[in-house]
Amino acid sequence: MALERWILRFRSLVSLALILAVWQGVAMLELVPRKYFPPIPDIAAGFWSMLLSGELLAGDSLTLGRALVGIVGSSLIGIGLALLGEMVPAFRSAFRPIAAIVQPIPPAALVPMAIFMLGLGFKLYAFVIILVTIWPPYLNGAAALAAVGDVEVKTGRMLGLSERDILFRIKLPAAWPEIFAGIRYAATISLIAVVVAEMLAGRDGLGFMLIRKAFATRIPEVYALMFVCAFNGVVLNALINLLRWRITGWHMRMTERTP
């Protein structure tokens, strides 16, 4: 029991240790030359040098900040679209094919056109990130809103709520747990999208650093940056879990009560 709690408290570190161990194991097998797949100590050294020079913290805070803005923006848009679709069924059936069409478009393929429309700055980032990030909250939200039980909805009608109130006070709370599953996935792809956007047209951030380090064939540092990307996922998800606990704590307690 105590061990279990201890493990759970430090599960991020446990996970990290696990990944590092697997990496180190593969590196020690020397399936590929050490130079291209360096062992953890080499990567740690690269990490350390970037940390000392200050570039890592500067770059990562930019990337994390952008990802956070991206996730907030696209969650709001995604959930907004799902709500709109629930309110106006004609919109939902019109938007469904649009979503299917836009979803698989690789943002990189749109960049020249996007640069033309949006320039090289913030708007380009926002476009790339939002284009790939709104779908998980939207799709999970739309599905969950459509599946809210009819007793709950009838209860709302009985209380004289307007359709709008039913949407916001009954369907939305009931759908939050599923929406958060979408937000969680959106967080990971938001991080990816930010890094890719920084690679495509950036002057700073992790993606830019990745390109630079790859250009300079500083392989351990490239991998160190990748581990930083990975750890960003944990950081962002920890933040989201805080919010999630606030909004859907009831659901987590209800479903985690092991009978």
Binding site: Q103, E178, P259
Partner: protein, 255 residues
């Protein structure tokens, strides 16, 4: 003709038409080959479609294989992690970490082990499709209602049976959304990986068009990817209507 009178047909069509119209107007005002409108794209399609269809075949087959591998591995894994709650919770951050790696950074690593051929691309596609499938399946099976779990235990189902008979069906609706996300993610990464490790495929086609500033040609390629996405999506939708009616019963029987 009957279709035109059908309201649901118009419901599905008005928004796309409106968007195309706005796009055309913007393109006409911009007046540069870098910003073609739907009309130019249509012209490019009519000129290039034999080439596009050929290249799209490569892309779709890779995306399809990658997606299938991901589905076969990740749905069971997600259900397993949802049921073995401690394991699931411990590995959650690991999943988050692996999920956050950008494909352009993963490609070089995969290339080390799998070369530059189809195998490498399929691995990357499977990897990208795995994330939404795993996350949605895991979340859904982790949060199966306690009452259903009680029944499972009272019938003393084995863990395997509980996963098969309870977690899986209960998670199916969320798996279906996971599939939508995974399909698009597979297509997207298929194209991206072709741009990075290119030999053939629609990604290469699009990139070639771009390098030559044939943006409308690139858009023609994109249009075909989108079309593929649209078709796959409507298949998923049919599947949902057929197999998940019990979940969306309220939408079907509006009181």
């Amino acid at each position: 003709m009957k279709r035109l009178a059908d309201k649901s047909f118009w419901n599905a069509v008005w928004l796309p038409v409106a968007i195309l119209a706005v796009w055309q107007v913007l393109a006409m005002r911009a007046h540069t080959p870098l910003f073609p409108g739907p009309w130019q794209t249509l012209l490019a399609i009519s000129k290039l479609y034999p080439q596009i269809v050929g290249q799209l075949g490569f892309t779709l087959s890779r995306a399809g294989i990658g997606f299938l591998i991901a589905a076969v591995l990740m749905v069971p894994l997600g259900i397993l992690l949802g049921r073995l709650k401690l394991l699931g919770k411990v590995l959650e951050p690991a999943i988050d970490m692996l999920a956050t790696l950008p494909p352009p950074a993963v490609v070089p690593i995969v290339m080390l082990f799998a070369g530059t051929g189809d195998a490498a691309k399929i691995v990357i596609i499977a990897y990208a499709a795995a994330v939404p499938l795993l996350m949605n399946t895991y979340e859904a099976s982790r949060t199966v209602h306690p009452s259903a779990n009680l029944v499972a235990r009272a019938l003393h189902l084995t863990k395997l049976e509980a996963m098969l008979h309870i977690d899986l069906p209960a998670a199916l609706p969320m798996i279906a959304t996971g599939v939508r996300l995974a399909v698009s993610s597979a297509l997207l990464v298929a194209v991206t990986s072709e741009m990075l490790l290119a030999t053939n495929g629609i990604g290469v086609f699009i990139q070639r068009q771009q390098e030559n500033f044939q943006i409308s040609g690139g858009l023609a390629g994109i249009a075909f990817i989108s079309l593929a996405g649209l078709i796959i999506n409507s298949i998923v939708f049919q599947f949902e209507k057929r197999w998940l009616f019990w979940h969306y019963r309220n939408a079907n029987s509006k009181g």
